[in-house]
């Protein structure tokens, strides 16, 4: 009978089914069977039975419980009722089902898998049963699914379970048991992940969890377990407990929960993404600070080196320039010694008397409990960059996966309707603004859909091209002018320094203050040129907002990259090559101070920009120009500024190990200042902002020009620039990189067995061949991945075609089913009319 066949195939099964034609056949077979059954019945025209069926069906409409499978509970009944009610309405509205379907057809329709997804508890449970099964298979690394006999494949097996769902009352219970069984056999993390992702209510999930845990305990206590697995069990529990407490500790650390909620409630996801980006940068710097702090600053601070006398007094200007009083502190490279610090000895010495400490010191050296500063410096910086790189690349790839889906979107209107509402926004005016925005966007989209695109004439095109060319020319010319300006200015400052280093009697404070000129100039350029770019963009009048954003970003980026390039040349080319000409004994510290100044000036100018650009301009436009709208927060520009600051911080870590701390302070202050400025002066953005795409772009920018540029500079410094001879941990070496080499050689001398290590080191690090091979492999992997993505794209388009075909098939089958019912019904009706006639 029709009602005994349940098409409760769930969604992943459908997917699995599409993969192999055999499985697909299985699905189709069932339809065929059904139709065959129906037509058989019709063919025999067992009038009495059909009549009964008809009566049953009619009753069924009244007795709702009958419609849903008997195992279902109250909710299922409600659902059934709603389904039936809806089915009644559907007849009038749906064009496909314009004619009256018989209730049997409708019942089949209502139990179709796509209708039960996320609805029927049974479907969800069996779906998750299959998933857990698959997961178990995968985790146990058994042979792949292909090696199973066909009947044991999850899809078909699942189908079998589905098919007998309707005829047994206990099936849901047994399915549940099986699910619990599977859950119990999963590892803890997998189980938690499964449980969390299940679209069931918490009560049910916790019941499932309780059952799984109970079973686990039973099996543990019931069977005689070897001691070690019992131990394993307890260890697992202990680890889990500590993991939970760690998690709650982390969540209590979650920064700025409340302010972020306020911002998102008022401005939505776009502006929020700026603050989240800021938070991410803060974590990066925190990591850097912890690493350098623990391995460089702390050991050196505990064992301060002997300083030359005549330390300059604190004058206040140091806070701006970073020089003077600060120059001989742990902040800068020059302070670090090239000694071997003997930790335990000093500690012992502190406890014991002075004369004794000397002798213990000698003992300690031989005990090799030593801390070699130059090595530590080299490896700390190297490792910090390495881990930052890994984290960055990982988050970048994740972000890419999230935002750039493989196929091009074409259902824009539907997406606008269903995905454009920002559920975070809770402020009344912002909600109103958002619905206005969506409204205008929908109207624009409609207009676009209706009369596709108005073709521009040749003249208009030429005009546009000219305008774009002009705008780009202005931007490029101004960028080039700024870069050359900075080049010559830095040259001038350099010569100035050379002169002042020769003449002795000059005011040191004035000298120090003159150092600030270059950072001020650069920050001024960074502040003013984006305004010019905005003007150019206004002239161009781009239609699509995303193109406008991308153009603005690329122009700003070009400016910042060229400025930083010139500065890097200035530091690494001019200053480092001939430090004695400007009277420097330690050029690394000088560069570190420069970077400190740049970072600080950047911060001060951002503050000025916030004050004048946002606050005062907002007041001006409100009071004088009588504009009702407040300005919108320029997310792209602000994020680019953050990226610029971060590049400076990364560049400076080598020369100023404490620069991350300065950057942390700066970011903390910036967060509160920007937050209050946004709250006071800005309005929710009018234009749509594609958050995840832009976040991906920014993470990519942070990774590619910013981090990569910084690490290239740092690597270049380590590899090929001669460190100062009289200061820093690398004094006396040809390059910083030699510290590692020396260490390996020493080790080899100490213990000839370790010569393998030395050889490996020289091969891996010194030979360019290895680098080339590594890069080659990396490129190959990327190439393969892109090929895989290409293949997937093709498969997706094929699948989409297939889905369309399936839709056609479905329509066809339903009409077929209905026509058979009609056939069946006609003789039945005839029979009833005969009955009444008699």
């Amino acid at each position: 009978m029709a009602r005994n066949v349940n098409f409760d195939l769930n969604y992943p099964l459908m997917e699995a089914g599409l993969e192999s034609p055999v499985d697909e056949e299985g699905v189709h077979d069932s339809f065929n069977q059904l139709i065959a059954e129906q037509s058989q019945n019709g063919g025999i025209s067992d009038a009495y039975e059909l009549q009964q069926l008809q009566r049953e069906l009619d009753e069924g409409r009244d007795d709702v419980a009958y419609l849903s499978s008997p195992g279902h509970e109250y909710r299922g009944r409600i659902k059934g009722r709603q389904d039936v009610e809806w089915d009644e309405d559907e007849r009038q509205t749906d064009p496909l089902i314009a004619e009256r379907w018989s209730s049997a057809t409708l019942r089949i329709l209502s139990s179709m898998p796509s209708r039960t997804i996320g609805r029927s508890r049974g479907a969800i449970i069996s779906q998750y049963y299959n998933r857990t099964m698959q997961l178990r298979r995968r985790r146990q690394s058994r042979p792949s699914i292909k090696d199973f006999s066909r009947s044991a494949r999850p899809s078909i097996r699942g189908y079998g379970i589905e098919a007998d769902e309707a005829d047994g009352e206990g099936t849901e219970v047994s399915k549940r048991e099986r699910l619990v069984n599977n859950l119990q056999n999963l590892s803890v993390t997998d189980r938690v992940r499964m449980l969390r992702a299940m679209p069931l209510s918490v009560a049910e999930k916790s019941e499932l969890r309780r059952l799984a845990l109970q079973k686990e305990k039973q099996t543990l206590s019931g069977s005689k377990l070897p001691c070690c697995s019992r131990l394993k069990y307890y260890i697992i529990i202990a680890v889990r407990q500590s993991w939970y407490s760690w998690l709650s500790f982390l969540s209590s650390l979650q920064l700025w929960q409340v302010p972020l909620k306020r911002v998102s409630g008022r401005f939505g996801t776009g502006v929020l993404s700026y603050f989240i980006f800021l938070k991410t940068l803060l974590y990066f710097n925190l990591f850097l600070f912890l690493v350098t702090g623990a391995f460089l600053v702390l050991p050196q601070a505990v064992h301060p080196p002997v300083l030359p006398a005549g330390r300059r007094p604190f004058s206040g200007l140091e806070l701006l320039t970073g020089a003077g009083y600060f120059s001989d502190t742990v902040m800068y490279y020059g302070y670090y010694s090239n000694d071997t610090l003997n930790k335990s000895c000093k500690d012992d010495g502190a406890v014991q008397n002075d004369p004794v400490s000397n002798s213990t010191g000698h003992d300690c050296v031989s005990k090799s409990l030593s801390y070699k500063m130059s090595l530590a410096y080299f490896f700390t910086i190297g490792m910090a960059f390495f881990f930052t790189c890994i984290i960055l690349v990982y988050s970048m790839s994740k972000s890419f996966g999230r935002s750039f889906r493989i196929d091009k979107s074409h259902s824009i209107l539907a997406m606008k309707a269903f995905c454009s509402w920002d559920f975070k926004v809770i402020k009344k005016t912002s909600v109103k603004l958002m619905s206005e925005n969506i409204c205008t966007q929908l109207k624009e989209l409609l207009a676009e859909v209706n009369h596709k695109r108005v073709k521009n004439t040749v003249g208009q095109k030429l005009w546009r091209l000219m305008v774009h060319g002009l705008a780009w020319a202005i931007c490029l010319a101004s960028t080039a002018a700024c870069a050359t300006g900075i080049y010559f200015f830095s040259d001038h400052m350099h010569q100035n320094l050379q002169q002042s280093s020769r003449s002795v009697n000059q005011n040191p404070l004035l000298n120090e203050a003159s150092l600030l000129a270059l950072p001020v100039l650069v920050s001024l350029i960074n502040l003013l040129l984006p305004g010019l770019f905005n003007l150019a963009a206004w002239m161009e009048d781009y239609e699509s907002p995303s193109v406008r954003t991308y153009v603005a970003i690329s122009r700003n980026l070009l400016l910042k990259v060229s400025v930083l390039g010139v500065l890097c040349y200035h530091w690494l080319g001019r200053v480092a090559s001939d430090p004695s000409s400007i009277g420097l004994t330690c050029w690394e510290s000088f560069v570190g101070q420069e970077l400190y100044r740049f970072l600080l000036m950047d911060f001060i100018f951002t503050l000025l920009d916030t004050l004048f650009g946002e606050f005062l301009w907002g007041l001006f436009s409100e009071k004088v120009l009588r504009r009702r709208r407040k300005p919108a927060f320029d997310i792209a520009r602000n994020v680019l500024e953050l990226i610029y600051g971060q590049t400076l911080a990364w560049l400076g870590v080598l020369f100023t190990p404490l620069l991350p701390a300065v950057q942390i302070l700066k970011l903390l202050l910036l967060f509160y200042i920007k937050m209050s400025s946004v709250m006071m002066n800005c309005q929710a953005p009018r234009k749509p902002y594609r958050v995840s795409q832009m976040t991906t772009v920014f993470i990519t920018l942070l990774c590619f020009p910013s981090f990569l540029g910084a690490s290239v500079c740092v690597t270049y410094t380590m590899w090929s620039i001669k460190p100062s001879a009289s200061c820093g941990p690398f004094r006396g070496l040809k390059t910083m990189f030699e510290a590692g080499k020396q260490w390996v050689q020493e080790m080899e001398k100490h213990d000839p067995k370790l010569s393998v290590v030395a050889r490996a080191h020289s091969y891996l690090v010194e030979h360019p061949l290895f680098l080339f091979v590594g890069a080659g492999i990396f490129l190959l992997v990327i190439y393969f991945h892109s090929q895989v993505v290409d293949g997937q794209r093709k498969i997706i388009s094929l699948l989409q075609e297939q889905i369309e075909n399936e839709g056609e098939d479905k329509k066809f089958l339903i009409t077929k089913l209905q026509s058979i019912h009609e056939q069946k019904r006609t003789p039945a009706r005839r029979l009833t009319s005969q009955d009444s006639a008699c």
């Binding site: 969604y11 909710r75 409600i78 809806w86 509205t93 749906d94 496909l96 796509s114 209708r115 039960t116 997804i117 996320g118 189980r191 969390r196 992702a197 679209p199 209510s201 918490v202 009560a203 999930k205 916790s206 969890r209 939970y244 709650s248 969540s251 929960q257 909620k261 939505g268 889906r405 196929d407 979107s409 259902s411 539907a414 606008k416 309707a417 269903f418 995905c419 509402w421 559920f423 975070k424 809770i426 909600v431 109103k432 619905s435 969506i438 409204c439 929908l442 109207k443 409609l446 859909v449 594609r690 958050v691 995840s692 989409q800 889905i803 369309e804 839709g807 056609e808 479905k810 329509k811």
Partner: protein, 187 residues
């Protein structure tokens, strides 16, 4: 710490942690919020799982939901009886699905339920009309709404039955990367 013990047992908190995307602390905070909605109805002691439900009208008044045009549907989709009465478990459920950590699939299922106004497991024209009217606060003319409905269904409907099934909906959602970040309520 003593306060923690009186609201939930450790076992309960563990269960919540395993089944939702919240940590202990957040569960306690959620309980606070739930309690705050109706202090005289909701007991402080949840160790014996009291049977207590809050009506839709109370929950909809939370500041997180108050201005949301879909507030009634959100609450209804998470209530067992379909009328919008939420027990604490369902309340937790709601914010768990709307939290940052929830995976796309889970969010998609509930978003589908929310937009499915007439609970027929399909997004049909009628649902889309209601959605649009709520989104734009009925600023669009009926003709425009009709046009948008037709076009949107035409675009997203893959199997040609003139309404969006869950598969269609999910397919569309996967191509809207912002959905994950916007279908999110901070608690």
């Amino acid at each position: 710490m003593g306060n923690k013990q009186t609201i939930f047992t450790d076992e309960q908190l563990d269960a919540y942690q395993d089944c939702t995307f919240f940590t202990r602390k957040e569960i306690l905070r959620l309980h606070g919020r739930y309690h705050e909605l109706a202090p005289h109805l909701v007991p402080m002691d949840y160790t014996n799982e009291p049977d207590c439900k809050l009506p839709l009208a109370l929950i909809v008044n939370m500041p997180e939901l108050k201005e949301n045009p879909f507030r009634n549907r959100i609450v209804e989709s998470f209530s067992e009886d379909g009328m919008g009465n939420l027990s604490f478990n369902e309340f937790v459920d709601m914010f768990s699905v709307l939290s940052e950590m929830a995976p796309r699939e889970l969010k998609a299922i509930y978003a589908f339920k929310i937009y499915d106004f007439n609970v027929d497991n399909y997004l049909c024209k009628e649902d889309l009309e209601k959605t649009l009217n709520k989104l734009t606060k009925e600023e669009l003319t009926p003709e425009e709404v009709q046009l948008v409905c037709e076009k949107a269904i035409e675009e997203a409907d893959l199997d040609g039955d003139n309404k969006l099934s869950f598969a269609d909906f999910e397919n569309m959602i996967t191509r809207a990367p912002d959905f994950l970040s916007t279908f999110h309520i901070r608690i």
